[in-house]
């Protein structure tokens, strides 16, 4: 995707930001709790996200990432606490919130029996968009789906469906874009395209809130990440800060047939520690997965 195209597209966006949020915080989450029956999905989550940030919420399946997005996008009402987007309370002013957000959920909820163009048209009309035909044409071009505009979505590949889903969320030029597991199940090439898209959005000042359990995705895209485990925020900071907190380097070695990890402050420290280990060793820079393992004793990624 061409950066100039994106810039042109976004410059044509009407300024719809509430003034307060331009100078303040885009997303305000204040002690949000969500309880399903006897299970606590979110436990007093508090988080502030500034305008223009690409924020990544990381955690294993069932940590509460999707629940957080559902509450912020007015799909789910919290059991306790408050949240606001662009200064609008998600429970008290849901329509104002819906006007400035775009959502690409984890499951591809396009109408598969309608064409790409029909899907976008219905969505645009729901948002009372002007110049709908023009906007649809532009967004389909940016998503690389122009030739497919009159094809039924059912016949699209998984990657094309995902691109259309994100294009739909971008059709209204939202101030805040929510991406729930945007690259799950996609091949590496499509994943890179979506990463490029998020980077372009960042440059255009769109606030992006994404969830993922791919470590490299969070490291590649996010200005800040929060790590969620069992409904609680257990770490928050830039990827560099978080890695620095646990030590910048990792020594991997074998012991009784298992891989063990040892966190070290420096490469030299890792080196000297490795002298006493038998068998193959690896010394590498630490990543967010190491942070997570250190904090919880579990892995983030899907079980292998």
């Amino acid at each position: 995707m061409d950066r100039r195209q994106w810039t042109a597209f976004y410059l044509s966006a009407p300024p719809r930001l509430p003034l307060a949020s331009v100078f303040g915080h885009m997303i305000n989450i204040d002690h949000i709790t969500k309880i399903y029956g006897a299970i606590s999905a979110l436990d007093s989550l508090t988080l502030v996200i500034k305008q223009g940030e690409v924020f990544g919420l990381l955690g294993p399946n069932g940590a509460g990432k999707t629940t957080t997005i559902k509450i912020l996008t007015t799909l789910s009402k919290p059991t306790g606490g408050r949240a606001a987007i662009g200064g609008h309370d998600v429970e008290k002013e849901p329509l104002a919130v819906k006007n400035i957000i775009g959502v690409a959920p984890q499951e591809i909820n396009l109408d598969k029996e309608l064409t790409a163009e029909q899907n976008l048209r219905v969505y645009g009309m729901l948002h009372r968009l002007d110049n709908l035909g023009r906007n649809i044409k532009d967004i389909l071009e940016l998503a690389g789906l122009s030739e497919r505009s009159n094809h039924m979505v059912r016949d699209f590949s998984g990657g094309m469906q995902r691109r259309l889903l994100i294009a739909r969320a971008l059709l209204t030029k939202p101030n805040v874009l929510f991406l729930d597991e945007p690259t799950v199940g996609l091949d590496p090439q499509v994943r890179r395209q979506i990463w490029d898209l998020v980077r372009n959005l960042k440059e255009n000042g769109t606030t992006v809130f994404l969830t993922t359990h791919y470590i490299e995705e969070a490291e590649a895209l996010c200005t800040r990440v929060g790590i969620l485990s069992r409904g609680r925020l257990i770490a928050l900071g830039t990827p560099r800060e978080l890695k620095g907190e646990v030590g910048g380097f990792v020594l991997e070695y074998q012991e009784n047939g298992n891989t063990r990890y040892m966190l070290c402050r420096s490469r030299e420290e890792a080196h000297s520690l490795s002298q006493s280990k038998k068998g193959p060793i690896i010394i590498r820079e630490s990543n967010l997965e190491d942070v997570f393992i250190k904090l919880t004793g579990e892995r983030i990624g899907p079980a292998e």
Partner: protein
């Protein structure tokens, strides 16, 4: 309020898509046509009701029944599947449209389905030689009936926990009402206690209005019953959308 239009338009786009598959169209129209042919032709010449032929009696009843079935089933199924399986309903919730507009859009779509099915039956009935007289309240009763059962469809589509739930509801509520509500025979033939039960339910009133030769006070009562049901179902549906939470 004008947000109803995209909601309605989407259902119409889907309807057109299904409609283009002819198999779907025939299976949807099969049951009422079967009733019309089997009862209308089979019993039609032997029985007369209220001085007219049986076919003349049956045709408005079948129109009321299929308008009820189609208005209800299409929307109940579409909402249940869209909400629980495809999760397309969530797009409405996350869009800046009022709950009232969402319900209105879905109800209008259900009405179109109901009216479409009714007019098909009507055409076949006329072709078979029924001398259907357009009674003064035929059209208003038909419209109210479609609105009422489409609203009920929205209601049950929002409440159902699974696709089977809407089918169960249909079997225990919609189907018995179709059989006892004056579609195939006048409800006066039924035992008194059953008549009482049937008169509480809406379909009997639709049937009565569609066959009524003039507007008497009891017609106004029936109209009032239909309006009250329609308002109740619609308001509950709007409330369910407003308080929607996963």
């Amino acid at each position: 309020m004008f947000g109803y239009y995209p909601v309605f338009l989407r259902e119409m786009m889907l309807f057109r898509r299904r409609f283009l598959r002819l198999g779907y169209f025939f299976s949807a129209m099969f049951a009422p046509l079967l009733y019309l042919l089997a009862f209308g032709l089979g019993l039609g010449h032997r029985i007369s009701i209220a001085g007219g032929s049986y076919l003349d009696f049956l045709l408005p009843g079948l129109i009321a029944m299929s308008s009820m079935n189609n208005s209800y089933t299409w929307i109940a199924t579409s909402l249940t599947v869209g909400r629980l399986h495809f999760r397309t309903f969530q797009v409405f919730i996350q869009s800046p449209v009022s709950p009232c507009a969402i319900v209105l859009g879905e109800v209008l779509a259900g009405m179109v389905r109901g009216l479409f099915a009714s007019s098909m039956i009507l055409l076949v009935g006329l072709f078979l030689g029924s001398g259907l007289y357009f009674m003064p309240l035929f059209i208003p009763a038909l419209l109210l009936n479609c609105f009422l059962f489409a609203s009920l469809g929205v209601l049950s589509g929002l409440r159902a926990k699974s696709h089977e739930d809407t089918a169960t509801f249909s079997n225990f509520f919609i189907l018995p009402m179709a059989f006892f509500g004056g579609t195939f025979f006048p409800i006066e033939e039924l035992p008194r206690w059953l008549q009482f039960v049937i008169r509480i339910l809406p379909l009997a009133h639709t049937n009565k209005l569609m066959r009524a030769k003039c507007m008497g006070p009891d017609c106004l009562l029936s109209l009032a019953v239909l309006v009250i049901f329609a308002v109740i179902f619609f308001v509950i549906s709007v409330y369910l959308v407003r308080t929607y939470s996963e």
